[in-house]
């Protein structure tokens, strides 16, 4: 489905995700977890092409970034905009309707069906400003349903909402998985990740562990991620990991050892999938 090969991405020379290699199979449901500032959102943006890659590449099998559906965090959306709930869901038809084509009755029915699925059909004509955060999150899920994508990326879909809404929306993830879609979601709640996501990817700028969520979310891995997060500094040395090995020896003194000493001598694809690295 999607394979990340040694991907780095970030802002202004500072990589927020650093040399990530991972493969996501069709029908997989992966929780992306890790400390704040660990690059979880950046990873999703990089996959969607919203964040240019600093190095590495992505292999798409059987689909492209254009077949992916992306749910941004709620605060990225202007909730004061005088639009109806149905308008927001209809935005999900963009791939088929584009700028100029009219929405067909079938498309409108799909939008209404999606709203029914998330329990929001009574709100179709309401202005979006009148919804609560949880209700609006349901609407965003309805839009993802309408997008009907092979790959689904959700950025903290459950962060702002109550348990009841989470319980209502979780079966959707299960259904998407059964339909063979690939789902990546950023989660803060580790319990939720372990209970509902078969796979997890622990990210602290570096990939700490990737594999079955039970293995990945072990205390040992979480501690390592936390330690790494605490070591982040404002001024970072240049990363030479992409360069030929002899360069590493040349400026060995300028290297930040906490980040790099365990990587020396391993060029390229050195991350394995079950989190047993290092």
């Amino acid at each position: 489905m999607l394979e990340l090969c040694d991907v780095s991405a970030g802002y202004d020379r500072h990589p927020a995700v650093h040399h990530i290699t991972a493969r996501f199979a069709p029908g997989s449901l992966t929780a992306i977890v890790g400390p704040n500032g660990g690059g979880k959102s950046t990873l999703l943006k990089a996959i969607m092409g919203l964040q240019p890659l600093m190095s590495g590449h992505m292999l798409w099998q059987g689909c492209t970034a254009h077949d992916a559906a992306y749910m941004p965090q709620q605060h990225m959306i202007d909730r004061d905009f005088p639009l109806r709930v149905l308008d927001i869901v209809n935005f999900g038809h963009w791939r088929r309707a584009g700028s100029f084509r009219a929405l067909t009755p079938a498309m409108l029915e799909q939008s209404r069906a999606a709203l029914r699925r998330v329990g929001m059909s009574a709100f179709a004509e309401r202005p979006i400003a009148s919804l609560s955060v949880g209700q609006f999150q349901r609407v965003l899920f309805a839009r993802i349903i309408v997008q009907d994508a092979r790959l689904i990326l959700l950025d903290e879909p459950f962060a702002p909402i109550d348990n009841r809404t989470v319980r209502d929306l979780l079966p959707l993830l299960q259904q998407w998985r059964d339909e063979g879609r690939t789902i990546l979601l950023v989660l803060h709640d580790l319990g939720l990740a372990e209970a509902y996501c078969p796979e997890a990817l622990l990210l602290a700028r570096e990939l700490i562990a990737f594999g079955p969520s039970r293995t990945v979310l072990q205390q040992e891995n979480l501690q390592r991620a936390q330690l790494l997060a605490e070591s982040w500094q404002d001024i970072a040395p240049q990363c030479d990991r992409d360069l030929p090995p002899h360069r590493h020896d040349d400026d060995h003194d300028s290297h930040d050892h906490r980040h790099h000493d365990h990587h020396h001598g391993h060029a390229g694809h050195h991350h394995d999938h079950d989190g047993e690295r290092a």
């Binding site: 254009h66 992916a68 749910m71 990225m76 202007d78 005088p82 963009w94 791939r95 700028s99």
Partner: protein, 290 residues
């Protein structure tokens, strides 16, 4: 004075009033929907700044070629785009934030424009450029206004869906492969064109009022965009026509009269409007059962 004498006779008797009427209606129709989108995108100050930016272009043409409307419009358009591009480049190349970069450039442009006119023209010329001379609009400039208003409406209608998506949910729109920057540029282009269209009638500084004030006022009455667009246009038309009659009967400058009428409608909306107004906040109606 009868209703006929007040409202109809000035237009029936004088050709210049009829032309002025067409001019304000054209400006109201073109500016209203653009203004709504600018306000929703939080670009109203950008539009205000842009109205300063077209000034030196108009002034330069005025100094070297005299009071030639087509040339002055072209000069204003070019100046607006040059300043917008310069401000954009500075934002990208330095640490200066976009709003600060725009503000500085537009202020410099306005100062330069006013200085040019005051060096080479009279105070009357300067007043005309800044605040317009609605009663002196000729057929050629009516044609220009009508073309720009029609072009604006057609463009907004054609790109309505992506414009809405880029404005309300830019990250999602970009994730679909949409180019948010392209629509930002479209807004800049349309704003500049409409300011240029309105400057002869209302002046560079007053035209932006027709763009922004009706849009802000209508927000207090309706909650949906499809109602907001016609209401904004109606507020623009009412302010334009009322202001024009006021300036005729009381012999005051037409541009400020029109903007002040729009301002009064805005203040009333702010006070008595249905949503988010002072009344809704401090004297709410009884709540509903659900």
């Amino acid at each position: 004075m009868s209703l006929y004498e007040t409202c109809i006779a000035p237009f029936a008797e004088y050709a210049f009033m009829r032309r002025a009427l067409v001019a304000v209606c054209t400006i109201a129709c073109g500016s209203a929907p653009l203004g709504v989108l600018l306000v929703l995108r939080r670009m109203s100050l950008m539009a205000d700044a842009m109205s300063h930016a077209i000034m030196p272009g108009i002034a330069l043409v005025f100094v070297f070629a005299g009071f030639s409307l087509p040339l002055m419009s072209l000069g204003g358009f070019v100046a607006g785009l040059v300043v917008a591009v310069l401000a954009g480049l500075v934002t990208r190349a330095t640490d200066l934030r976009e709003d600060a970069s725009f503000a500085t450039f537009y202020l410099i442009a306005l100062a330069f424009g006013v200085l040019l006119v005051s060096l080479h023209g009279t105070t009357v010329d300067l007043l005309h450029l800044l605040f317009g001379s609605l009663l002196a609009v000729d057929n050629a400039s009516l044609m220009l206004m009508a073309s720009i208003a029609a072009g604006t409406l057609l463009t907004l209608a054609a790109f309505y869906r992506p414009l809405l998506m880029a404005a309300s949910d830019p990250v999602f729109f970009a994730s679909l492969g949409g180019k948010v920057m392209r629509y930002q540029l479209l807004y800049l282009l349309l704003t500049t064109l409409n300011l240029v269209a309105g400057f002869q009638a209302l002046g560079t500084l007053m035209t932006v009022g027709m763009m922004i004030i009706p849009a802000v006022a209508s927000r207090f009455w309706v909650q949906h965009l499809d109602a907001m667009l016609p209401l904004t246009m109606a507020i623009g038309l009412v302010s334009g026509i009322t202001g024009l009659l006021l300036s005729y009967h009381k012999a005051v400058a037409s541009g400020p009269a029109i903007i002040l009428v729009a301002g009064i409608i805005y203040l009333m909306s702010l006070t008595f409007g249905r949503y988010g107004s002072l009344r809704a906040r401090y004297w709410p109606r009884r709540h509903l059962t659900h």
